[in-house]
Amino acid sequence: MIEVTDIVKRYGSNTVLNHATFQIQEGQLTTILGPSGCGKSTMLRCMNRLERFDHGRLKIGEVEVLGTEDRKLSAAEEKELTKRLRARVGIVFQNFNLFPHLTALGNSTEAPMTVKGLARKDAEEVARHYLHKVGLSDKEDHYPAQLSGGQQQRVAIARALAMEPDVILFDEPTSALDPQLIKEVGSMLRALDDLGKTLVVVSHDMNFARSISDQVIYFEGGHAVEAGTAQEVFGNPQKPETRAFMQSFQEEEGTRAEQQATASGKNEKLDAQMGTRATLGQEE
């Protein structure tokens, strides 16, 4: 169970998170959806302590984090807290941030060896297990530069999994990939969900969110506007902000689909996936 209660974060006069409150159930796949600049990525980074927040409370399992202005931590306490939090929460970055000097296997064994103190043999066993899970058994000796974007992402996932966290955060997992790979990412995430992991995905892609999520949280202006199942949020949005976002997204999608259809001359063959592709063309 992840509880976010009234979190506020400011950069100078700019309020990035503005009383954000929501819950995520264990073992669920939750998408935080919202326009760019709404604070969703910052929210995600707060959950891994890559960012700190000023006020409010974050609870992941039994680890509780309070705003820096609510409770001052000594350097030692901060270190201890971060360690406990990161032991539970892994993250897959938007551009993966793989270690270029290490192979796929090396990327996945480095942290288990240095952080958990595993022997190389044991760490490699764990890493191979997860590289197998993401379908990269045959690439373990490849360096990141020798892998495709999709393969790199899967190494990043295996690297996070090798630390065996309960929660894995995904920052815009579709944005750095070719449109053809989006579906693959979706099924990969579902497979991880089946492992019992709690997954939190940040995305601005409505179609992707709709196709994979147990729960969708619509984020805007630095806080959660609306939360519910994918069906609830997409089928029957309650808040005007949510409705406006859905509408603008659909309009844009329609225009793009039309343009593409005209251009290709194969109007009738367009299916929903085309829309997805069109959207992905406008990466941030």
């Binding site: 891994n48 890559l50 270190k79 360690k83 990161r86 032991a87 892994g90 993250i91 970055f93 551009n95 941030n97 793989l98 270690f99 270029p100 000097h101 480095e110 942290a111 240095t114 952080v115 490849h142 360096y143 990141p144 530069a145 020798q146 690297r159 996070a160 630390m163």
Partner: protein
């Protein structure tokens, strides 16, 4: 030779020497200088042996009129003379701080110098003389130099004298052999310098030149002592008188300047030596060159290998967030990078002894070069670390690694491959900067070149050889760099 002279890089810092004089109170010691000399049985003499026939190095031995004279004086005092070769730049500070007991190095007695040190009675009359190309008409006196372009050695009394004469265009050279070479090549009309040295050089390898007229200044050479060495000065004076009375002085003078000496020198010179590149010289001098190469290699490589870990540590101190470490590291880099290496060398060798820290010349040289290179190396490492994408640190930290673990396992391995080329640069620069330690009497490669160029009056032969040896020295560095670059080549697409 007057005032300061001879610095390879032309990095001339009289103000630094001045500073050293100011902060150097006369070294106070319980023993008087004379007692110390008697007790040790040696008279330590500083000399810049690049001034034939007065003092120079031949086959690794000190030779020359003043060397023989100093030996005779020491013998008369019942002690042994120990010569320490020191570049003229650093010779007086070294005298002041007790690195040697006396300076015998063609030092002209002047009122300015007498204010800061003691002099023996004069032992040699010298003066300035004019040299021109053979066949030149109308230059025999200094007055006739008006309107002419005249070469001198830097900071000599020749320079001081000529600059006072209106209409003379003075061209200043680091060493007298270079001035003579330029005269031979026709860029200047005359050269003015110490008479015996000018005669020696012309006879040795500038037969196209000749001296004209007579000495137009009177200068007296004296043995210099620190101000606190009055008793030593008196003892040396007494010895000087005795060797003059006994005829020993005349014998030495005859040996170097007498007719027999002139004849031998003429015979040697009549072997019509080619004044361009002289290959036989390399055969004669290669062992000395090897010594210089070995000294330069020891200095540079030792300093590089000590500077690397210190530089790495400094760069790590600067990129981490605690000001407790980053501020001192930044100050260190700022100060060391912002002050001349020459001053740092002089400081360590000449000023630290005042605080009771006496380091041998080689140790001082290595320390100065290490301290200096560490500052530059740290900036190379820092640039390398900062060039690694911030996402790498985030990814490592997000996996639970501590800052130190992430630095060691993720950031630094990537940094090392990027900094090999600039580090190679720094290593090569260090190799060449090491020539500055000649100021504290270390005979490394460049100093060897300077001594040999003046001894054989053959700059055109000696300096290309020096350059070649430096080039050879950089080879191992570039080889290692190539190997590391190959081994650490960033992994790109297969």
């Amino acid at each position: 030779m007057n005032l300061m002279s001879l610095s390879l890089k032309g990095l001339r810092l009289p103000f630094a020497a001045l500073l050293l004089f100011l902060i150097l109170p006369a070294a106070v010691s319980a023993q008087s200088s004379l007692q110390r000399v008697r007790q040790n049985g040696t008279l330590r003499i500083g000399t810049d042996a690049t001034y034939p026939p007065l003092e120079y190095v031949e086959n690794g031995q000190f030779e020359g009129f003043e060397i023989d004279l100093a030996n005779a004086v020491a013998r008369e005092m019942g002690v042994r003379a120990e010569f320490i070769n020191a570049s003229f730049d650093g010779i007086f500070p070294a005298l002041q701080n007790g690195s040697f007991d006396a300076v015998v190095s063609s030092v002209t007695i002047t009122p300015e110098r007498s204010a800061s040190m003691l002099f023996s009675d004069p032992y040699y009359d010298s003066g300035q003389l004019i040299a021109v190309r053979q066949g030149t008409q109308g230059i025999t006196t200094p007055e006739e130099l008006s309107g002419k372009k005249v070469g001198v050695q830097i900071n000599t009394t020749a320079q001081i004298d000529l600059e006072k004469r209106a209409g003379v265009q003075v061209a200043v050279y680091n060493t007298i052999d270079l001035a003579l070479l330029d005269l031979k090549n026709g860029r200047i009309d005359a050269v003015v310098g110490d008479a015996p040295v000018l005669r020696f050089m012309i006879r040795q390898s500038f037969q196209e030149l000749q001296t004209v007229g007579r000495r137009f200044t009177d200068e007296k050479f004296g043995i210099a002592f620190a101000q606190s060495s009055e008793d030593l000065r008196r003892a040396v004076n007494a010895a000087l008188w005795r060797i003059q009375d006994s005829g020993e002085y005349d014998r030495i003078h005859e040996k170097w300047f007498g007719e027999a000496a002139e004849r031998t020198a003429d015979q040697q010179a009549s072997g019509a030596r080619p004044s361009a590149f002289d290959t036989s010289l390399l055969r004669k001098t290669w062992t000395l060159f090897l010594k210089g190469v070995w000294m330069t290699a020891k200095l540079a490589f030792l300093s590089l290998f000590l500077g690397l870990p210190i530089g790495l540590f400094l760069s790590l101190a600067r990129v981490q967030s605690s000001r407790l470490l980053s501020v001192p590291a930044a100050v260190y880099v700022e100060v060391i990078r912002g002050t001349p290496l020459l001053v740092q060398i002089l400081f360590i060798y000449f000023v630290l002894p005042l605080f009771g820290i006496h380091l041998p010349a080689f140790t001082s040289g290595v320390i100065a070069l290490t301290i200096n290179s560490a500052a530059y190396i740290s900036e190379i490492f820092r640039a390398g670390i900062l060039s690694i994408d911030a996402g790498q640190m985030e990814a490592a930290r997000s996996l639970g690694m501590s800052y130190a673990q992430a630095m060691r396992r993720i950031i630094l391995p990537q940094t090392f491959r990027r900094v090999v080329p600039p580090l190679t640069n720094e290593g090569i620069a260090l190799l060449k900067d090491s020539s500055l330690v000649s100021v504290i009497g270390l005979t490394e490669l460049a100093r060897t070149g300077q001594e040999l160029a003046s001894r054989y009056a053959a700059p055109l032969t000696i300096w290309p050889i020096v350059a070649l040896f430096y080039l050879l020295l950089t080879f191992p560095l570039t080889r290692v760099a190539e190997y590391l670059e190959r081994r650490w080549r960033p992994i790109t697409r297969a």
